[in-house]
């Protein structure tokens, strides 16, 4: 058990810090949350800077144009960029973390050459068309269908919870290509150009009042068969390959950020007098233990994934279960530190509290995660 970093890792960290210190002050001002074209340009610009500095696709395999970095280097990258206040992955999320790795693993040579370099260079934005209104936790129940017509698929249906749909160039789309097959076996994975006729994007307002997500309605959208990655009806497996690219690093930046927020909360409580409330103070102390442990669990999972050559376990579900609750506890505590101010949307942390509510729901509810842990780690039987 070694928590110290190797000289190579330390050098990687030092060079990264140096570079961040150099380039961050020169970044353009952040666009407003509603300015989608501005956000696209800002996020792609940052990706281009990473690319030029050799940090693009850090965790991608070298033969996909990535840097083939170890999980530990990826951890350091995420930790340092968060600490330095660098831009988030933003509009590049799906390209770098879902669609890109899928294409790298399952795409043909031509598909890799077409789609991967623009992601790394910050030229194209991807969005994700997986969830549907009637297929939430039960993702494989999706009903958007694709009918073969010559060299095209003709796609009809609707998708929900699509981020950056307004400004994406491509959508990684799951469609049903065989309605008669068992639900996991009739799905295909398509790269849909977002300028294809028949796509309607409608912003979806969340309870936080923001429009980070969109609904997408597909009406006879033609997608070339050449845009299918993997075999027809093999899309579920193709997608699971993507999801399993997780190497324990999914929440690194967020845990770093939560620890920073926790310190800010404590100092704010000192300032506004709520520090004298022993119940609140000790709650903050326990949250310190919680996030210290979550950081250690992250390091544990990353080291495990490094030993296994990047193949992840199901430990991600364990982490997500605890982290999602801890994050909600953190922002509940923040509200108690703020007091009545917590009812002001302009106060610090208020919007973060609202968005923390999605953590036990999105990307697999806590109920689903508990099933996964029980069945896949503990070996408990499936219910009848």
């Amino acid at each position: 058990m070694d928590l110290s970093y190797t000289p190579e890792e330390e050098e990687f960290r030092a060079r990264l810090r140096e570079w961040l210190a150099k380039v961050l002050p020169g970044l353009p001002p952040k666009p407003s949350p509603d300015d989608w074209p501005g956000r696209r340009a800002y996020d792609l610009g940052w990706q281009r800077m990473l690319y030029d500095a050799g940090y693009a696709g850090l965790h991608w395999p070298a033969d996909a144009g990535g840097r083939g970095a170890t999980p530990t280097q990826h951890l350091i990258f995420l930790e340092e960029t968060e600490k330095a206040g660098a831009p988030y992955v933003g509009a590049n999320f799906v390209g770098l973390l879902h669609a890109g790795p899928t294409i790298a693993a399952e795409g043909s040579a031509g598909q890799r050459a077409r789609w991967l370099p623009p992601v790394l260079r910050g030229e194209e934005v991807w969005c994700q068309g997986f969830s549907e209104p009637d297929a939430g936790s039960d993702l494989a129940a999706l009903r958007t269908r694709a009918r073969r017509d010559g060299d095209d698929y003709v796609v009809n249906g609707s998708k929900i919870w699509t981020s950056h749909a307004e400004v994406a160039d491509w959508c990684e789309l799951l469609v049903r290509t065989d309605a008669k097959a068992p639900k996991h076996r009739g799905i295909s994975w398509l790269a849909m150009p977002m300028d294809a006729p028949g796509i309607t994007v409608r912003p979806l307002r969340t309870l936080a009042g923001s429009t980070e997500f969109a609904e997408m309605f597909l009406d006879d959208v033609r997608v070339s068969v050449a845009n299918r990655v993997g075999e027809e009806n093999d899309g579920w497996r193709v997608t699971m390959v993507t999801l399993s690219f997780e190497r324990g690093t999914a929440f690194v930046g967020e845990v770093v950020a939560c620890r920073r927020v926790l310190g800010e909360l404590a100092r704010e409580a000192r300032k506004n007098g709520r520090w004298d409330d022993a119940v609140l103070r000790r709650r903050l102390g326990r949250l310190n233990a919680e996030f210290r442990a979550l950081w250690r669990l992250t390091q544990w999972n990353v080291s495990e994934s490094e030993r296994s050559g990047g193949v992840p376990g199901v430990g991600g579900s364990v982490f997500k279960l605890r982290y999602s609750r801890a994050r909600q506890d953190l922002y509940d505590a923040a509200a108690d530190v703020l007091g009545p101010e917590a009812l002001d949307l302009d106060s610090r942390w208020t919007l973060d509290r609202l968005s923390s509510l999605s953590y036990t729901i999105a990307a697999g509810t806590s109920q689903i995660q508990r099933n996964i842990v029980a069945e896949r780690i503990l070996g408990l039987p499936k219910g009848r």
Binding site: M1, G263, R286, N288, R292, A293, L297, V318, A374, L380
Partner: protein, 294 residues
């Protein structure tokens, strides 16, 4: 960074587990419940295996290993519900003659409690006015003393390691029971209510494991404080949930579940209190200077 067990650490853990399985298996455990005596032959065997001398330098006749290895050994002890003043004797190795080899049984004042006072050869700390208690843990004789000893961080860490081992074991016991016990025509582990209890038990174990192992590596008092809080939670809550999964069967004296629960309660009263740990961890938060942390 390689925050995983080394091959040597795995071998050490397997060795301790094998020793305890062989010398302190279920039969021996239940015999100890009926007659809680200190098994001096086992104590010497633990000494020979290096349990007490683990962190003593080789030059002084020890094994020359560190806190991480000690934590792994104590995790196994917690898992097996091994009895005796393990922490006190381990900490006395190199300081009290015969402690390292298991010839001498050493007890110590821990807060206002002393375990195994009457059975020990040497007692560290002020036991003036010690009063015997009818111990809630049938495997641990207890005395109370009027003057409290200050908590020792290494002792707190080793206790946390025992809690981790116990939490991990109660999770296993719950899962074993849930896979085999049938009600309403299926194993109860097929019911989501039971599944989700077990999942949350594992989550608490894994979070505590990260905290305990990290504290063993850093030996940082704040890390130890965090490890203590999370390991206590995992052990106490885990034993409660294990009992719930076992239902009436867990409520019998013959079940081992209550032995884990009672020992977990006892360990949670040793070392630093939760209140102290929380206050220490809170204080650190407020003390850190604003700006990015490194």
């Amino acid at each position: 960074m390689d925050f995983q067990l080394t091959d040597d650490q795995r071998a050490l853990r397997a060795g301790v587990r094998e020793l305890l399985d062989r010398r302190f298996g279920r039969e021996r455990l239940r015999a100890a419940v009926d007659a809680p005596e200190l098994d001096r032959a086992l104590w010497r065997e633990l000494g020979e295996a290096g349990f007490f001398a683990l962190r003593l330098p080789e030059a002084e006749g020890g094994v020359g290993l560190g806190l991480p290895e000690a934590v792994l050994a104590f995790e196994e002890a917690g898992r097996a519900l091994l009895t005796g003043p393990l922490v006190a004797t381990h900490l006395a190795a190199g300081e009290v003659s015969g402690a390292a080899t298991g010839e001498t049984v050493v007890a110590a004042v821990d807060g206002t409690l002393v375990e195994w006072l009457d059975e020990a050869d040497v007692v560290r700390g002020d036991v003036t006015g010690a009063v015997a208690m009818r111990s809630a843990d049938p495997l641990t004789p207890l005395h109370r003393v009027p003057r409290a000893a200050p908590p020792d961080p290494v002792a707190a860490l080793l206790i946390a390691a025992e809690q981790l081992g116990s939490a991990s074991r109660t999770c296993e016991l719950a899962v074993q029971h849930a896979r085999t016990r049938e009600q309403f025509g299926q194993p109860i582990g097929a019911f989501q209510a039971v599944k989700h209890l077990c999942s949350e038990m594992l989550v608490r174990v894994e979070v505590a494991r990260g905290a305990v192992y990290a504290a063993a590596v850093t030996a940082d008092p704040l890390d130890i404080a965090a490890a203590g809080l999370l390991a206590d939670e995992a052990a106490e809550h885990g034993a409660r949930d294990c009992l719930q999964v076992h239902g009436g069967m867990g409520f019998t004296w013959e079940s081992d579940v209550h032995l884990h629960l009672k020992r977990a309660w006892l360990r949670a009263r040793r070392g630093q209190s939760a209140a102290e740990a929380e206050e220490t961890l809170a204080e650190e938060l407020a003390a850190v200077a604003p700006g990015p942390r490194t």
